[in-house]
Assembly symmetry: C2
Homo-oligomer: 450 residues x 2
Amino acid sequence: MSDQVMYTLEPDEQPTHWYNVVADLPVPPPPPLHPGTRAPVGPDDLAPLFPPELIAQEVSAERYVEIPEPVLDVYRQYRPSPLYRARRWEQHLGTSARIYYKYEGVSPAGSHKVNTAVPQVYYNQLNGITRLTTETGAGQWGTALSYAAALFGVECEVWQVGASYDTKPQRRTLIEVFGGTVHRSPSRLTEAGKAFAEDHPGSLGIAISEAVEVAAQDPGAKYALGSVLNHVLLHQTVIGEEALRQLAKAGEPGADLVVGCAGGGSNFAGLSFPFLREKLAGNQDPRILAVEPSSCPTLTRGEYRYDFGDTAGLTPLMKMHTLGHDFVPSPIHAGGLRYHGMAPLVSHAVEQGYIDAVALHQNECFDAAVEFARTQGVVPAPESSHALAQVRREALAAAETGAEPVIVVGLSGHGLLELGAYATYLSGNLEDDPLSDAALAEALANVPVV
Amino acid sequence: MSDQVMYTLEPDEQPTHWYNVVADLPVPPPPPLHPGTRAPVGPDDLAPLFPPELIAQEVSAERYVEIPEPVLDVYRQYRPSPLYRARRWEQHLGTSARIYYKYEGVSPAGSHKVNTAVPQVYYNQLNGITRLTTETGAGQWGTALSYAAALFGVECEVWQVGASYDTKPQRRTLIEVFGGTVHRSPSRLTEAGKAFAEDHPGSLGIAISEAVEVAAQDPGAKYALGSVLNHVLLHQTVIGEEALRQLAKAGEPGADLVVGCAGGGSNFAGLSFPFLREKLAGNQDPRILAVEPSSCPTLTRGEYRYDFGDTAGLTPLMKMHTLGHDFVPSPIHAGGLRYHGMAPLVSHAVEQGYIDAVALHQNECFDAAVEFARTQGVVPAPESSHALAQVRREALAAAETGAEPVIVVGLSGHGLLELGAYATYLSGNLEDDPLSDAALAEALANVPVV
């Protein structure tokens, strides 16, 4: 057996197109609805927020979308991200499973978010936009957009969820190193923000409302979203496209299990949709599994209904698994998994039975992450640790039966700016905080009836 | 021209040997002396601190040392580190220079230090050692040793320089995530530590004394040093060996300028010694340049004399550029460049005229680092920023003359755990703090007369 553990791609093997899963889904996903009229939204409704190319991608049914050369030119700085065989972790677990992890932490911002930040900024700049607004939770999206904006000479303004802003000054500094501006959300700069007390811990929903409000009022500005929407998921498919090619290079004809963490859904979809294409085509038959936190269990306990993407109800209504648009999850450390909804495309694929979901407690996730760090030498983002904890369960089950599944797991980013969370875990003071039935019922009560 | 910017190596192209520059130096370097007798030290003198394989490497004159398979097996997890063409930075600078950076930040601990931590732990474990002690300044070495120790099941205890321990809790957490134990230095656990007040900011020299003292008293323990010594520099040559091969892949027959930051000297030597071999053999003629901080200007203002490696005078006397073994530099942010001495092999090569040195102020370095981050997407370690600032000077000079030098620069690590320093720089509150003549004279007065 080869002792190679890191798989890359030659320049001429790298993907030149993003993959649009809509083209291959037998049942089309339900359309988004206008927040006022409740009629399906058309491209015109989205024009105040997004440039035409992104709107076209949002509603496209084409199977492949060509990656523009200026975007490929940035991708070449850090892509392909490596696919690693986790041989030391396998040995430690005593498993017969073969575990491969696709590591997005090598990107300039340390996570997969750069994959969509770059094309989003590129298309905006192409349309004369000089200012982009956005929200950030864990901070990874704000970092990515700030970096991409610097490359294309666009101004970047980030509303950072209050709880994250207060506890992670390093994240703010990193955004500033890349040239972006950071506001604590809820801020005093918007009506959406002023609806909350200044020291409110904030939520992604509130921060989205603030960024959308500012962009809508400035003709030179647009808004950029780091997850959930179809075009964002589309851009992330470069992850899965590479992983398929790298897996083949590792001598594996296919995956038996594909695992990713799911917050808004873009990391998960980016890795898994190209595998779903192969599954739908009958080329491979992987089980595809989304992992979420017990404190924000959108797919496993949310309802599949039309709901707003933000707290103030400014976005279109999207059919998705939701905990309610004004749900404020407990401040668990995986800030990127604290969104009340789930990407409509991921939700639809779950409803259609192509994708399974599971929710885990955070102590189990950090435990797996520390074990992973000590064997593989990568400190995972707390978000990614959810996927790893589930992989550990599967690998230990394989050890029992002697099965030899090929597992592909998405390691969406590194956790080097989340060491405070690791310190809390190591001190034994981290608490699991699953969502209560009462809190869930209360949040769902405010979902609009469509 | 190719638009490729990242160069890697195929598995069969990767170096299998470390390079020992001693074999090619026309004048042999002066030997280390016993701290008591002042006679040249023999292998027996080093036996309490190091295992036999490392001692053999320390005194070896063989040109190539084979990398053991268990070490190669770990190297394969993160090596080759990528060589990047800094095309976007070049464009920003308007330079005709071609700048390549060798990026060691992809390693498990985020810096080049892992390259020597792994073989050091391996050889110790081979000799039945179950506990390793060491010091750490910026924290990169402690992190690397802690990770390597976890891989081989060895206990790791780290004395962290007080100033660094107090201001960088994340660094301590990272060492603990990898399973190591951290003590603030000066500690109450050693005589060397108790000689100083408990709230003393510490220095590398003090921390070395503490770690050496503890190792010397425990027969199951040895000490590990992250820089300075010949065997450490030897292990780091994997950087330069890879860079030479990658540069050839990029279509460059050779380098005109090789630049690295120099603290203890191992990062600098690791990149530059293989290039020095090519220079001595007449295959290439690069200028080789070490960059250090103005606040700790060992090569540019220190004296080339025998001095101790630590504050307490426990180590052998080494002929090196020194500011005096009890010199405590101002607490600049590049903790890894705060050592009073310089690797004897680097010092010797400077004396022989093969290597030049320059000292820079830290504000210029952070300015270059931020520019680099915004173009290349990598936040450099403050240490590495010194090398980048010098490269910027050279690149801007080339822009004036239209010269097209090929510049290879070592990016020894990322700065994601040093964002506090970046925040201070961005706020405009960072001060340059060059060493005064009076302070230098005072420190040099205590260098022993040999």
